[in-house]
Amino acid sequence: MAKAATFLLLGLGLVSVTNPAFAQQPDSAAQALKHLSIEQLMNLEVMSVSRRPERLAQTASAIQVITQEDIRASGASSLPEALRLASNLQVAQLDSRQWAISARGFNSTTANKLLVLIDGRTVYTPLFSGVFWDVQEVSLADIDRIEVISGPGATLWGANAVNGVINVITKDAKDTPGVALSGGGGTELRGFGTARYGGQVGSAARYRIYATRFARDPSVLPSGLDAVDDWHLGQGGFRADWDASTISHVTLQGDLYDGRIGQPSAGDIAVSGRNVMAKWSRTISETSGLTAQLYYDRTNRDIPGTFGEDLDTYDVDLQHQTRLGARHDLVWGLGYRVINDRITNTPALAFLPAHVARQWFTGFVQDEIALVPDRLHLALGTKIEHNDYTGFEIQPSGRVNWTLSPAATLWAAVSRAVRAPSRVDRELYAPGQPPYFLAGGPGFHSEEELAYELGYRHQRGSFALSVATFYSRYHGLRSLEQVNPPAATPIVIGNGQDGESYGAELTAGYWLTSRWRVRAGYTELRVHIWPNPGSTDTSRGATESQAPDRQLFLHSSIDLPAHLGFDAGLRVIGEIARPGVPAYAELNARLTWQPTAKVDLSIVGQNLLNPRHIEFGAPGATRREIERGVYGLVEWHF
């Protein structure tokens, strides 16, 4: 009788399976679930404590997911290389260690409209609102997946998600048990080795520790001479995951690194850093959960002759989600970040004041409304941020997701995002003493974006297709203004430019056979930037956005007999008209042999089509060229 009643109530959706009573007695939940039909089970919403339930903001956006398998197959040896797998990113390598990475244009070495998170930790320098890619050394084998969202993600994600979010998610410690050793070397990636051990404490807590080290060959100059930018880095770290109870999960993780990069003069660049993070998530009820995280991050960078920086970041975030009534899913959060940034100025350039402490307060709220449950969903939300430069900034968005059929989804979004000032915009002076040739703009305010997006996603069996189109309008883009026109110098940083961008991002994947998978990605992009009346900037955006009009990616992964696997990735990148980077095509390939289940032997070729090619930067004697590279790799798990 009681069983029959439970069944009936479950079927009608009137009682929840993980209500507090069930949570304490999982046994009775199992009993109740057994009375459901397969169809009912398939209709049940599931949640896992360790994984954030998927939010509409992600499904109704231009998201591409790079899986662990994709990373492996690509032979990527660093995080930026792995990011080439997302065709909605513009990724260009400048030299042995510097990368320009952006979404929807606005690319440069100091690209400033992208938010990059590693397990929820922002890897971002308030110096220029961008990322120093040479110190984001994630152990690639420990990555679960990388979510790459192009377009504004400002409402739900942290600051700076103007044109995209890269979210690197590492594996739970329970997925990395035992010993894993890997190592190898080659022509460009000279030598590398990684050791990882995963263990267990009691039945509910697991951990892993790792250490990795590599040495990379310098890039070359157009003259064929060595660019003396050889690069060495060592890093170690840990992650521990503890299922404190069936409804709460705790993660502790940290990393420590130290590296050196060659320079043609003035001595090696020294980089070092460390971070530690604690995360706690708790399921309050079947429809409500709480997440809290806290981290500390320190980075040190000393570029002799240019500048030095010591940066401390402290960050705390809280997020709560709950269901209100039958149709509303509410998620809201609060965050606080404080940074302490100390610059060592040089005769070449200065940040004034050299030492600053800055803080950010953020709050966001988003309501997901089931207009027609399971068919038509609307998400409305806003982020409110307070920064020390411009005060309050409001970044609202509206997203709609329409499930046309189990295979097909249509989505659309309108969002406002801002790129708040960074130290470069207001506090940079060159040279290091007056008279200044270039000065930060004391009145520099936030750059604003209004973005319209429309997308379609289709997934059926072995075939997946996604199309995202967009149009964005920008106001107050950074400009370089002449102080005493028509004199070309001095110049001061201003907000004298407006712009627009539009384009489409396509991806498709197909399993030709059970052993052969092919994927394609194509992005078409136009960015136009113009000076506003009164502006003396004549660059027409050439310093703010350097991105190709189109790029094409083709990947093939095939499992061959005799435990062999062959993967190849071709990329064809259009020219960057200004400052003049020619179009190029390059091929990466990987051949893997698995003689036993415990050992993988691979040979990886990178940039195989040309002995040398150029991906970024203005023509000149110091523009670095990227060489063809080959490396061998041995992996051993036990």
């Binding site: 479950l10 079927g11 009608l12 959706g13 009682v15 929840s16 399976v17 993980t18 999982p26 046994d27 939940a29 199992a30 679930l33 057994k34 459901l36 397969i38 169809e39 009912q40 089970l41 398939m42 209709n43 049940l44 919403e45 599931v46 949640m47 896992s48 404590v49 994984r51 339930p53 998927e54 499904t59 899986t67 662990q68 398998e69 594996k171 329970k174 997925d175 990395t176 048990p177 299922d243 069936t246 079947e286 429809t287 269901r323 039958a326 089931a370 449950p373 399971d374 059926r460 069996g461 072995s462 399993w511 056979t513 059970s514 052993r515 998978r517 499992d559 435990h563 698995q594 289940a597």
Partner: protein
């Protein structure tokens, strides 16, 4: 509409799916050497279920057969097994495991990406917080398993073989 507001833990639900599969699959006679041979659900690699799987099958029977849960670290250790769940981390490269099974009549299940396309039989796909099933019929046929039409109706059938 019916499921609005209901959320269960992911692996609790997956455990119940595994239990249900027993009713929708016919194994060849050789899979059950004796009339009271238990129906064995095995987990290979790390066990994501915790207590959920044991609790689901406790005191259950399929006809005269009791259910049993076995856990294995390596495919070579697997003795009697009817439904094999392969953890996501192992299931991402399933070829070695599947080759190790040598087309024994074992229903292979995993939540790893591409599992059904790569020769596995059933993959749990989590889509908007709901669990869907992908089924590779060629693989089940090769192992001489007969799948009930009830399961075929709700699963998404994936083409191509996994030999």
């Amino acid at each position: 509409m019916a499921a609005q507001g209901v959320r269960a833990s992911e692996y609790q639900v997956k455990a119940v799916f595994l239990f249900n599969f027993a009713q929708f699959v016919d194994w060849p006679a050789e899979a059950f050497p004796a009339g009271d041979t238990p129906l064995v659900i095995c987990v290979l690699g790390n066990d994501p279920f915790g207590e959920a799987l044991d609790q689901t099958v406790r005191d259950e029977r399929l006809g005269s057969r009791p259910f049993q849960v076995q856990r294995y670290q390596s495919v070579d250790e697997i003795k009697i097994c009817h439904i094999l769940f392969i953890n996501r981390s192992e299931g991402a490269r399933p070829e070695v495991i599947l080759a190790g099974l040598k087309q024994r009549p074992i229903l292979t299940v995993s939540d790893a990406d591409g599992f059904a396309q790569r020769g596995g039989m059933i993959r749990f796909v989590t889509d908007r917080n709901r669990i869907r099933l992908q089924l590779n019929l060629t693989a089940t046929e090769a192992a001489h398993l007969t799948i009930s039409s009830k399961l075929l109706r709700v699963a998404e059938i994936v083409r191509r073989t996994g030999s």
